[in-house]
């Protein structure tokens, strides 16, 4: 597929890297020549220095033959303009990043009238992710499939858990409900486990299950499943605004700490039910005064990654249920991994992931479709949901007779909106939705699960 990416910020860079590894022809456009040159030498892509909203620049980037344009510059208006011009210049699909809440409210209108395929709002995406984590604090991360019917829950096995030293087949025998352990991260090594795999405390496991079964599962292993009662958010940016509204709907009490008094006033106007406090969130005494220890969850959303990390480390000792840390830069990944920060949210990566999912789904219109895609464990594994169509070659064969790739597991099937945990006898039928977890990155088609 031929893709033009306008804007080489963090999202643009992440997208260019991932998409070029998936055999797409990428052309990046940005006004900053040094960024373009660096990206173009580090990856097998073409770079172009110029304004992406200019017709002649887009033409030089090959917009006339491109299949997809992704506009992810700093400016919303520029992104929209790029998409509009691209639509006029060719038949390509367009994706724009729009972060201004004002425009976001008019998403549908913009999308329809400007002919955009997708409008993505990173802050809103991040807020939704954080909200779902607070709704299920035992999990490190939750990804949903099949419109929320199936969830993949990631959690760390606590010390002295029942699950310690248990083989997976024994876990299945002990807990009778629909679930499947589909990936395990042990000290940075990601494995797709079989029935004889023995779990250990400290493993981060991914569980495919439904919301109801998840509750049952966690009760069986003595883990709390209730949502957080209240939360403290430090930093009053855009994510906070979206998040507070979502939490309000979930019935979670919100306390927001923000430095800037003017911003506090704005927030209190927008969020009548939230407690807005003006003060320095990095001041330990101040946080104590605001009763951090009575909170059962904490979200660090300041603009500084380092401050967020420190706040999270502090809050981990005081808060009982959940600490979420927002991190902008990917470069600190390795350090963060060792800190065991509880849940970490990368808004830029979430955005990139969402666009990646879209591009992979557009790429295949024949045979089957990638409906959903999640990158797991720092991009070491992927969970994909495929829609199975009539002409798919893998239908009607019992799973045991299929020769699957190594490091790949068919984790769940949804049939008529019902979750089905597959075993050897299960056959895949047209109309099913199949969820696959694998360490082979970049599967494009349901048939790719077979060993070559």
């Amino acid at each position: 597929m031929q893709i033009v990416i306008v804007g080489c910020g963090k999202v643009g860079t992440a997208l260019a890297r991932s998409l070029s590894q998936e055999d797409n022809n990428i052309c990046i456009v940005d006004v900053k020549s040094d960024v373009v040159h660096q990206l173009a030498t580090e990856n097998d892509i073409m770079g172009l220095v110029g304004n992406g909203a200019s017709y002649s620049v887009l033409k030089e980037a090959g917009i006339e033959t491109a299949d997809l344009l992704i506009a992810v510059t700093e400016s919303d208006e520029l992104n929209l303009l790029c998409c509009v011009i691209a639509r006029k210049a060719s038949k390509c699909q367009t994706i724009a990043r729009v972060r201004n809440p004002m425009y976001s409210q008019e998403k549908r209108f913009l999308q329809r009238e400007l002919g955009l395929s997708m409008i993505i709002n990173p802050e809103q995406t991040a807020a939704a992710e954080i909200a779902s984590l607070l709704g299920f604090p035992s999990a490190l991360g939750i990804d949903s499939f099949a419109g929320g019917k199936v969830e993949m829950i990631r959690f760390r096995i606590p010390a002295e858990s029942k699950l310690n030293d248990m083989a997976l087949k024994d876990v299945n025998a002990m807990i009778k409900c629909d679930f499947l352990v589909c990936a395990v991260d042990r000290a940075g090594q990601v494995e797709i486990p079989g029935g004889n795999f023995v779990l250990k405390s400290g493993d981060v496991i991914s569980l495919v299950t439904s919301r109801k079964s998840a509750k049952f599962f966690f009760e069986k292993i003595d883990m709390n499943t209730n949502r957080a009662r209240n939360t403290m958010i430090v930093g009053g940016g855009k994510i906070t605004l979206y998040l507070a509204k979502m939490l309000d709907n979930l019935g979670i009490a919100v306390k927001i700490i923000e430095k800037n008094p003017d911003r506090c006033r704005e927030l209190s106007e927008e969020l009548p039910s939230a407690t807005v406090v003006n003060g320095d969130g990095s001041d330990e005494a101040f946080l104590r005064e605001e009763r951090l220890d009575t909170m059962d969850s904490f979200v660090a959303l300041t603009n500084l990654d380092e401050e967020n990390i420190l706040l999270a480390l502090l809050a981990k000792k005081k808060v009982s249920r959940k600490v979420v840390t927002k991190i902008n830069r990917e470069q600190l990944n390795e350090v963060i991994h060792n800190l065991e920060l509880d849940s970490v949210v990368y808004p830029k990566l979430l955005t990139a992931q969402k666009i990646l999912r879209y591009s992979r789904a557009t790429k295949n219109s024949i045979g089957s479709n990638v409906k959903t895609l999640y990158r797991l464990y720092d991009d070491k594994a992927e969970a994909l949901e495929f829609a199975i169509t009539e002409n798919s070659k893998i239908t009607g064969i019992p799973l045991r007779q299929m020769k699957l790739k190594k490091g790949l597991l068919i984790s769940a099937i949804t049939r008529n909106d019902k979750l089905l945990i597959p075993d050897g006898q299960t056959e895949i039928l047209p109309g099913d939705s199949m969820i696959v977890v694998t360490t082979h990155l970049g599967l494009q088609d349901a048939q790719n699960i077979l060993a070559e």
């Binding site: 070029s20 022809n25 990428i26 030498t41 580090e42 990856n43 097998d44 892509i45 073409m46």
Partner: protein
């Protein structure tokens, strides 16, 4: 001495470079050389020559060594500029060593340093020979000489990139290290496709030239050899008098194609994708043709008395100008005997070289343009100390990085030139011979003036001078940096 001990030292301690990737790239190059060697082998067998066996032995050797190196996939794909430059220079040295073997094994060139000189001269598209009598060579050896020009012209790593499944983003460094010019641009997003397009255009033009030469009455074998040698802007002739005894029409065809192969291949791509209008924006192309036209006319006027009619003078003048500026090095006349003014122009053209992104050598027209514009800018800043003036080519701002790399290039070029000239002067030849021998090898031209003129050859030099000139040829073809990097202790030291 300090130098080599630093290398030995770091070899002992292990490189901090990704040497498994370097090994893999060099292995791939050798595998392809083994395939290339099969062509002269076949020709040898068809003509019933004994030397064909030498080619067979070398092809097998290459396959064994190369195969062993690519058998295991590299441990990691981490690949930076250092690895790129080192793999390119090692690849070229390996390529030349194995390419020299057939000459040596078949005893057609009995001394190994001579065989290596001939092979390096071939791959670097220099065309300087150590043979007194080229015509005495067997046909397969003659073909191999011309074929090395063709392989080296566009670059063997570009070929590897086009057909070999090398993954990883940074493979662009390989192409950068091998392709001539101050800044290498991709034609299409993927390196692989860019390389395929380049080789496609290159092959098509070569075939066209061979066909034209053949239809106009040249012997097929001669046409193929001259075609390959012009395409790579090499210049190995297959007759002792280079191109002097061919018919006028052939000389004209050669002139045209030499000049065409000295043009940036991006231009041909633009024509292919029907953006021919854009090529007239190319300052480099206009300057290149301008230089050819001006020098051709000046020399023709200067040598009008030597030839019976002005047309003849024009033909010889343009042939020589085209041959020297594109760094091919064919000759139709002994320009050694021409007036000093003409000789001086030719020597200047040696340094100028062809366009960036072509198969030619030399400093490249685009570098000259950047240097001249930098000089003009300096004059401007003397008048307006606080004035701001941006450097533009084709209406685009030239990055500071590019200007800096051009300056560095010129400095290293001058240092290498001076050093080589000093070392070669140990042989105690006259100044013109020494100076032009170095100029002809570092710029990948072939013939120089005086004793190394079109009718002379490089066999007169001592083995030591030959080694110096071999280094110059490789450094010139790879545009200095890769060879400098390979022999720089800084790169090989783990601690710095």
């Amino acid at each position: 001495m300090k130098h080599s001990s630093a290398i030995a030292d770091s070899i002992k301690r292990g490189f901090d470079m990704n040497h498994s990737m370097i090994r893999y790239v060099v292995g791939a190059v050798l595998c392809f050389e083994s395939i290339f060697l099969c062509l002269p082998m076949l020709i040898g067998f068809v003509c019933g020559e004994k030397s064909a066996f030498a080619f067979m032995i070398c092809a097998v050797l290459c396959l064994v060594f190369g195969g062993a190196m690519v058998l295991r996939k590299p441990k990691s794909n981490v690949f930076y500029a250092t690895e790129g430059f080192v793999s390119v220079s090692i690849s070229w040295i390996a390529l030349s060593l194995f390419g020299a073997l057939p000459f040596w094994i078949s005893r057609e060139i009995p001394r190994f340093e001579d065989a290596l000189f001939e092979a390096i001269s071939g791959f670097t598209t220099t065309g300087a020979t150590i043979l007194d009598d080229v015509e005495a060579l067997s046909r397969c050896c003659i073909f191999w000489r011309s074929f090395t020009h063709w392989i080296g012209g566009m670059g063997v790593l570009v070929f590897v990139l086009a057909v070999f499944p090398l993954r990883g983003g940074n493979i662009m460094f390989l192409m950068k290290a091998e392709s001539p010019g101050p800044s290498v641009e991709k034609l299409v997003p993927r390196v692989k496709n860019t390389a395929l397009i380049l080789y496609g255009v290159y092959t098509a033009m070569t075939v066209l030239e061979i066909l034209l030469l053949w239809i106009t009455g040249m012997h097929f074998f001669d046409a193929v050899n001259l075609g390959l040698a012009t395409a790579g802007t090499g210049g190995f002739g297959i007759l002792n008098d280079s191109a002097a005894s061919y018919a006028s029409v052939h000389q004209v065809i050669l002139t045209v194609f030499m000049i065409l192969f000295g043009v940036n291949f991006n231009i041909y791509y633009l024509i292919l994708v029907k953006r021919a209008k854009d090529i007239w924006h190319s300052e480099e192309l206009k300057t290149y043709f301008g230089i050819i036209l001006a020098s051709g006319l000046l020399i023709a006027y200067n040598i009008r008395h030597i030839f019976p009619n002005p047309l003849e003078a024009l033909k010889h003048s343009f042939f020589q100008v085209g041959s020297i500026i594109t760094t091919t090095g064919f000759s139709t006349a002994d320009f050694n005997e021409w007036p000093l003014f003409s000789c001086s122009i030719l020597v200047l053209l040696m340094f100028c070289g062809a366009c960036a992104g072509s198969t030619g050598g030399g400093m490249k027209v685009s570098r000259i343009i950047i240097m001249v514009k930098t000089a003009v800018k300096e004059v401007f800043t003397i008048k307006h100390p606080h004035g701001i003036k941006t450097l533009k080519i084709d209406g685009r701002v030239v990055e500071h990085e590019t200007v800096r790399s051009v300056n560095t290039f010129v400095v290293i070029y001058a240092l290498l030139f001076a050093g080589s000239a000093l070392l070669v002067s140990l042989d105690n030849f006259d100044f013109t011979t020494t100076f032009t021998a170095v100029a002809a090898t570092i710029n990948n031209i072939g013939p120089g003036l005086s004793k190394v003129g079109p009718m002379g050859n490089f066999s007169i030099f001592s083995p030591f001078s030959k080694v110096v000139l071999m280094f110059d040829m490789l450094a010139g073809r790879l545009e200095l940096m890769p060879m400098i990097v390979l022999f720089s202790p800084l790169i090989w030291s783990k601690d710095r």
